[in-house]
C-alpha cells in the first residue's frame, strides 16, 4: 500500500511517440510492481498551461516523484521548482529545460535524454550521403521554444554545413502531422526541385510522406526522428530514408527508475544522463 507514486508528465498523446511511451511506462510499472504510476498527457504541443496544471495537481496529490518531458523549456522551470520545493523528486527527460532559465531561477536539475543535436546530425548525414553534395533540402522544425527542437535544427544545420547542402527553407510545424502535411505540401510546390526533407520528428515526417504520395512524387528523400511504429513500414518500402530511434519507452522507464532511486534515498542526479540513440535505415 505504501508504494511510492510517480507522476509521469508527457506531451501530446496525439503523437504516437508518447502513446508508445505511455504503454511502455505502464508495462514497466506492472513489471516492477513496486510503485504506482499516474500518467498525464496534453491536448496539443502548445498547451503549456495544461502541463503546468498537471504538475500542480501532482504536487497536490503529494506524489513522490514527477518525471516530466517539458513542452517549453522555459515555461516549465518555475512549476518544477515549486514541485522540488514541495519535496518532490523531479526528473527532467526528453526535452531539456533551458540552461539560462534554470540558472536564473537558481534551479539545478539533471537531464535524462539523448543527444538531440548529434541524433539529428546522424539523420542529416544519412540524407546528405544519399543525395550528395549541394543537394536541395528543407527542414521541418519542432516547437520553437523547446530545447530539443532547437538542438535538432542545429544538428540538421551541422549536416547542411558539412555536406554543403542547399537549404531552401526551414519552418516549424509544431511537431504535428497535419500541420507538417500542409506546410510541406506548399513548400513542395514552391520548390519542385527539392531533393530531401529533414523532419525533426516522425509525426511530421509522416505528414511529409503523405504529401509526397499525394503529389505523386517518389524522388524525394525523407528523414525523421523517434522511430515510432508507423514509420517502420515506410522505411522498409523506401518512402522514408531513415529515422533516429531514441527508445522512448526505455527513456521513460530509465527516468522513472532513476527517480525511484532518488526517492529510495539514493544520491541526487547530476548533469546529463545521456540515453541511447541509433540511426534506423532499411535493413
Amino acid at each position: 500500500e505504501d508504494k511510492p507514486v510517480v507522476g509521469l508528465v508527457m506531451k501530446s498523446l496525439a503523437n504516437e511517440f508518447f502513446q508508445n511511451m505511455l504503454e511502455g511506462a505502464e508495462a514497466h510499472a506492472a513489471e516492477r510492481g513496486d510503485y504506482e504510476l499516474r500518467a498525464v498527457g496534453m491536448q496539443n504541443e502548445t498547451d503549456f498551461e495544461s502541463q503546468i496544471n498537471a504538475v500542480e495537481n501532482f504536487i497536490t496529490q503529494g506524489v513522490d516523484a514527477i518525471v516530466i518531458a517539458p513542452a517549453d523549456s522555459k515555461a516549465m522551470v518555475r512549476p518544477i521548482k515549486k514541485a522540488i520545493a514541495a519535496g518532490i523528486t523531479v526528473v527532467n527527460f526528453d526535452v531539456s529545460l533551458d540552461a539560462d532559465a534554470k540558472k536564473e531561477q537558481g534551479l539545478e536539475l539533471a537531464f535524462v535524454g539523448p543527444d538531440n543535436r548529434g541524433g539529428a546530425k546522424m539523420a542529416g548525414d544519412a540524407l546528405a550521403q544519399a543525395l550528395g553534395e549541394g543537394a536541395k533540402v528543407v527542414i521541418i522544425e519542432g516547437n520553437p521554444g523547446a530545447d530539443n527542437a532547437t538542438q535538432r535544427r542545429l544538428g540538421f544545420e551541422d549536416s547542411v554545413a558539412e555536406y554543403k547542402l542547399d537549404l531552401l527553407d526551414s519552418r516549424t510545424a509544431h511537431w504535428e502531422t497535419e500541420e507538417a502535411n500542409q506546410v510541406f505540401s506548399t513548400m513542395l510546390t514552391a520548390h519542385p526541385d527539392l531533393q530531401g526533407v529533414m523532419a525533426a520528428n516522425d509525426s511530421m515526417a509522416i505528414g511529409v510522406v503523405k504529401a509526397l504520395e499525394n503529389a505523386g512524387r517518389d524522388d524525394i528523400l525523407v528523414v525523421g526522428f523517434d522511430n515510432v511504429p508507423a514509420v517502420g513500414p515506410m522505411i522498409e518500402d523506401g518512402r522514408m530514408l531513415a529515422t533516429v530511434d531514441q527508445f522512448g519507452q526505455k527513456m521513460a522507464a530509465d527516468a522513472i527508475d532513476l527517480a525511484l532511486e532518488v526517492v529510495a534515498g539514493g544520491p541526487e542526479l547530476e548533469g546529463w544522463v545521456k540515453t541511447n540513440i541509433e540511426l534506423v535505415t532499411k535493413k
Binding site: 502531422t177 500541420e179 500542409q182 510546390t189 514552391a190 499525394n214
Partner: protein
C-alpha cells in the same frame, strides 16, 4: 401598372433582383478570389498556376469543402455543428477498423457513413429533444466522439492496406483526383437539395424564423434531427476521404480546427449566425478563398508571422468586400 411612376420602383426592384439572383455576395467573393489569384499569380506565376499546384489546392480543400457545404445547411437551419472535426476522426477509425477486419472497401465506406450518421443522430436528438443549445451539445459531443475514437483505436493509428479503398483518396478520373470528384458530387447534391428542393426551402424557413415556421405547420423537430444526421454523414464522407488519403485511421485526425475552418468558410460564404441565410455556392467560394490563401501564402514563402498577418487581413478584406457591398445595396 402601365404608367411611368409605378414602374420606376418596380424596375428598381427587378434590377436588384437580377443581381440578387447571381448573389451580390457571391459576386463580391468572386472578386476577392480573383484578386487573390492575381496577387499570387504575379508573385509566383512560375508555380502557382501549374496544374499540380491547382490540384494541390483542390486536394487541400476537398474535405474542408464537403464539411463547409454541410455546415452551411446546419447554419441555415439555425444551428451549428462544432463536432464535425471529431466525427471525421471517429469515422477514419471506424472505417480503418472495418477494413482491417474484413478487407472489404464497401464495408469500410458503409461503416464511415453509418457511424457519421449515428454521431449526427446523437447531436440531433440531444439538440431537438434535450432542448439544448446546439453549440453546447456539439461542443460536448466533440469531446465525446474524440474520446470514443481513442478508445476504439486504443490511441494508435490503424493502417489500411486495401488498395481499392485507398484509390478513393489517390485515384484519378479524367485527370482529376477522386476527392475532388466527391466534392463536386456533394456540391451538386447539396445545391439541388438546398436551393431546388422543398425540404431545402423549409430549412431556410426554420432558420429564418422558427416561430413562423412552426405556425406554418412545419414539423421542426424532424427537420432539426435530419440536418444533424446529414451533417454527420457528410463528416463521415470527409472521414472516408481522409482515411483513404492517408491510408490510415487516426483518432486524432480532424482535430486541428477543421470545424472552425468549415464554419469560417460557411460564414465567408454568406451564412448568418441567426440562420436563414447562406448558399452552397457561397460556401464553395469561401472554401476556395481559404484554400488559395493557405496555399499562396506558403508559396510566396513569406515568414510565418507575415503570413498570418496577411491571412488575417485578407479574411477581413474578403468579408468587407462581400458584406459591405451587400449592406450598401
Amino acid at each position: 401598372m402601365t404608367d411611368h411612376t409605378t414602374n420606376t420602383p418596380n424596375e428598381g426592384i427587378s434590377m436588384h433582383r437580377v443581381i440578387e439572383r447571381i448573389g451580390i455576395h457571391n459576386i463580391s467573393l468572386l472578386v476577392a478570389l480573383v484578386g487573390l489569384l492575381v496577387i499570387f499569380g504575379v508573385l509566383r506565376g512560375d508555380v502557382f498556376f501549374s496544374t499540380r499546384n491547382l490540384l494541390n489546392i483542390g486536394m487541400g480543400v476537398a474535405i474542408l469543402g464537403v464539411l463547409a457545404i454541410s455546415q452551411t445547411g446546419v447554419i441555415v437551419s439555425g444551428g451549428l455543428d462544432i463536432s464535425v472535426g471529431s466525427i471525421v476522426g471517429l469515422t477514419t477509425v471506424a472505417t480503418a477498423m472495418t477494413i482491417q477486419a474484413t478487407d472489404m472497401a464497401g464495408l469500410g465506406l458503409l461503416a464511415g457513413i453509418v457511424i457519421g450518421g449515428l454521431a449526427g443522430l446523437v447531436n440531433g436528438l440531444l439538440i431537438t429533444y434535450g432542448r439544448i443549445n446546439a453549440v453546447i451539445v456539439t461542443l460536448g459531443t466533440m469531446a465525446i466522439f474524440r474520446g470514443v475514437a481513442f478508445i476504439l483505436s486504443n490511441g494508435q493509428s490503424i493502417s489500411i492496406f486495401n488498395d481499392s479503398f485507398r484509390w478513393i483518396g489517390t485515384g484519378r478520373i479524367l485527370g482529376l483526383p477522386a476527392p475532388i470528384w466527391v466534392l463536386i458530387a456533394v456540391a451538386i447534391g447539396f445545391y439541388t437539395f438546398m436551393h431546388k428542393s422543398i425540404v431545402g426551402r423549409n430549412y431556410y424557413a426554420i432558420g429564418g424564423n422558427p416561430i413562423v415556421a412552426r405556425l406554418s405547420g412545419l414539423k421542426i423537430p424532424n427537420y432539426r434531427v435530419a440536418i444533424y444526421v446529414v451533417s454527420g454523414v457528410m463528416a463521415g464522407v470527409g472521414g472516408i476521404l481522409l482515411a483513404a488519403r492517408t491510408g490510415s485511421g487516426q483518432p486524432i485526425s480532424g482535430s486541428d480546427g477543421l470545424e472552425l475552418e468549415a464554419i469560417t468558410a460557411a460564414f465567408l460564404g454568406g451564412c448568418a449566425m441567426q440562420g436563414g441565410r447562406g448558399t452552397v455556392v457561397g460556401a464553395l467560394l469561401g472554401v476556395a478563398i481559404i484554400g488559395v490563401l493557405n496555399n499562396g501564402m506558403i508559396l510566396t514563402a513569406v515568414p510565418t508571422f507575415y503570413q498570418m498577418l496577411a491571412k488575417g487581413t485578407l479574411l477581413i478584406l474578403a468579408v468587407f468586400l462581400a458584406e459591405y457591398r451587400l449592406n450598401k445595396n
